[in-house]
Amino acid sequence: MDVGRGALEDLSDAALVVAIGRWRQDAMAEAFRRHSGAVLALARRLLNQGPQAEEVVQEVFLRLWNAPERFDAERGSLRSFLLAQCHSRAVDMLRADTSRRRREDQDAQRDAVSRYDLEHEVVDVIVAEQVRDAVATLGPQEREAVELAYFGGHTYREVAAMLGEPEGTIKSRIRTGMSRLRQGLADAGMGPA
């Protein structure tokens, strides 16, 4: 299969990755256009506005360039693949930086609810609305646990310590919260059922 330059915008993500496997820089550019915003936003959410967030974006996309075969379209979308890598890398950075970590834990304990706000992560109006509806199906405690884990980069044990709750309770809230989110987004026609 060969890919003409003009057709790049019409390619599926999976086909785009095939083109990237052929060292097509224009295919990389298209992947960057589609997904870099979400990757950067997540990195910044976890690492704040510093240079580390941009470094993570670069790492994630260069990894795609160097090892595109690690993406398996049967396992999920390219965006979730890139975001999972971004999240994992950003969390590694956070956990390696213990002094920063302690500082942020204190901040998080102070304003755990106001600092993390799922809906405001989404700028696209339509998607935001669907995500907002799905998030609204979460109880406040489930929502807090998911937010602190995903956007705060905390382990469930840390979340439990921050909130003064048993670890099993937090684990359960994350599970229930993610399950409700998935169902809510599926009901809105987004994501897996």
């Binding site: 052929r22 820089q25 870099s36 950067l40 670069q58 975001l83 700028v123 919260g177």
Partner: protein, 251 residues
Amino acid sequence: MSGVFGHPEMEGLLAAYALDAVDGEESEFVELHLRECPRCRAEVSELRETASLLAAGHPPAPLHIWEEIVAGMGEAPPTEVLRPMGRIVPLRRARTVRTAMVAVASIAAVVIGVLGAQVAGLNARLDRQEAALPERTITAAFLAAQGNPDARRADLISGGGAVLAHVVLQPDGTGFVWSDGLPPVAENRTYQLWATVGSTTVSAGVLGPELTVAPFKVVGDVVGIALTEERRGGVVVSESQPVATGLVRSA
């Protein structure tokens, strides 16, 4: 092996794991479990898909980040991450293997059979393979093979039932084996791939001590694939129990 965790406990951890909220030994237990449990692997994929929707809808990142990426691409053009076959043993005629390698494919619990091993022109195969892939990288060929609707596939499964590697085999005989979780063997050892064609088994490639993705070519109707660990350089006749085996499924 899921260590101290039973399946229910593991299921309770998956959502936190999908959000990178599990660390240390617990994370390792989850990863071990995921290698063996396709249902939980699918669950984690779906949870990550859900999480990704929370970060949707942003405009592209600033141009200077793209420029940094391009600079990185230029300074370090992608090396071939796909491991070509390792040291190739000399051409030999086929000969019957003396040792039975009982290969259990967990799905059907089918014994692949007594392996008759031959190393049939591996150097020549490599040359043909590379000649057959002009102007495109092995990486691209691998991705194309994955997307080939006529390709046949096999999951290579350990005796304990863990899926350790995968194979995609195209109608022209070119194929790829890959793994993202198989631990590397010692430097003086190697993985070796075997293909059962009809009633005999041929060596399909010496893969080196670390298996990421490797191409191979086997002529004939391949019904089974086996992966063994051998001494560095590979062997003509394997006396090893397979690390994993699998039956090749129809396209």
